[in-house]
Amino acid sequence: MEYLIVTLIGVVFAIASLVLLALGLAIIYGMMGVINLAQGEFIMLGAYTVVLSSAHGLQLWVGMAMAPVVVGVVGLVVERCIIRFLYGRLLDTMLATWGLSLGLIAAVTLILGPSTEGVATPFGHVAIGGYAVSAYNLFVIAATGFLVALTWGVFNRTRFGLIARGAMQNADMVAALGIHPPTIYMMTFALGSALAGLAGAIMAPLTGVVPSLGLAFVAKVFITVTVGGAAIFSGTLGAGTLLGAIESAVSFISTPIYGQVAMLGCALVVLRFAPQGISGLWRRSG
């Protein structure tokens, strides 16, 4: 029984971390059709914000609160300087953000050095029967739930969210009603960047922080968002659940390498039958 609970927590944690990491890109992709290949580096910058603020004696939570602000501002600058000229050009944005990703890795390596940094994992462990579960993992699950709910609220219960959903469906019409779509795109991109920064900050205590950290995440994030399709919330939650469950289940019975292979295989199968992602399935029928 306890074993089952512990395993289940492991699976839910895998799902939650996938959703947490993917949420920012899901918004950027779902709203504007932009695949930001530098999203991994935004995650990395969030993690470094925590590392640096801790190194300066600040509490972990302060660093976590700063990360979305710092990375949100970076996202804002990137949108103004690069992305806004490339909306509607999928390949061009992918190329530009890929270049940006390489540039950010190089810049961080240059400034902060290539060594692995880290912050201690807070909270210790909780005992479930004879097993010890990292309490921080439970925090990650809770934080993800909270963030998904909060973001959902922003998109479904605020004026900004209403306008953003309208712009996603018909940008010309939104403009004809007096709202400048580029402003909405800019804010959405910054929001998606801030979420990536926060995800990186939350994951920082669980990983070694290196300039190439983003590369470890970007493939997973990209796959989750592609499998999820255009519907931001149902798509990301659906894809995160499917892929996270398969990855952790296969990792559990074999090794994490096979877990990632299984996840990729699953993604390929899904995209073979639902090229628009799983949310394309219920969008079409709905």
């Binding site: 209403l162 019409m173 004809a176 009603l177």
Partner: protein, 234 residues
């Protein structure tokens, strides 16, 4: 003559290298309903999209309430009082009727006009929670008009409101247009192929052919089918 609410002069526009609109001028004063008739593909929608700023004018100018808006973005024109009800209605399909109306006034400060608008468009009241895509064509058309009006425009560009819509709703639309122009002094530029509707609400009618205004006629002339055929075709 009353000052023009909307005045376009020598508009030229098109898609890429293709020139569609060819030196079109049009002007409306408050409370005036001006119609544009013409066959499919003659450039009527292109004219409205250029006036709204969704298409860039290659030359010519647009003035709105005395202000030159030729180089202003669509959103700015809208905030200055230019309403647009596009062909095909373009309701936000995944937003509810209420949300469609809320977006209509999102750019405007001040108290909500939605209750007042629902007073005018009573049939929408029962549909407020429905997604836009689940409305009939007629309901969508009324919603599109209502969504535009909650933004309190001075002038409305209205593109083929009768297209694919049953006669009873076309009647309703005609009554709304008449009432809006007389009691609210709204200026309306109406693109329409239903000549019966045009003759009921318009004060002046432009005939458009291949991107140009070829003649201006009085609405009563529309009841003479031979003359209309001559104007539209020859």
């Amino acid at each position: 003559m009353a000052p023009a609410v909307l005045a376009a002069n020598g508009l030229v526009s098109g898609y890429g290298r293709i020139r569609i609109l060819d030196n079109v001028s049009v002007s409306l004063s408050a409370g005036e309903v001006v119609a544009v008739i013409g066959h499919n593909g003659m450039g009527k929608t292109t004219l409205l999209r250029t006036l709204a700023g969704l298409l860039k004018a290659k030359s010519g100018s647009v003035r709105l309430a005395g202000r030159d808006v030729t180089h202003h973005a669509t959103a700015v024109r809208s905030r200055l009082g230019l309403g647009y009800v596009p062909q095909g209605r373009q309701i936000f399909p995944d937003l509810t009727v209420m949300e469609n109306l809320m977006i209509g006034q999102a750019a405007r400060a001040g108290a909500s006009d939605i209750p007042g608008i629902l007073e005018r468009f009573k049939s929408l009241t029962a549909l407020l929670g429905r997604p836009g895509r689940a409305l009939s064509g007629g309901e969508q058309q009324l919603l599109a008009l209502a969504r535009c009006l909650v933004g309190r425009p001075r002038v409305v560009l209205l593109d083929e409101p009768s297209e694919g819509i049953q006669p009873s709703i076309v009647d309703q639309i005609a009554e709304h247009l008449h009432d809006l122009s007389t009691t609210q002094r709204l200026a309306i530029l109406l693109v329409e192929q239903d000549l019966e509707l045009v003759s009921r609400v318009a004060h002046r009618v432009h005939v458009m052919r291949k991107g140009r205004f070829v003649s201006e006629i009085a609405p009563r002339d529309l009841t003479n089918p031979a003359m209309v055929r001559e104007l539209l075709w020859s």
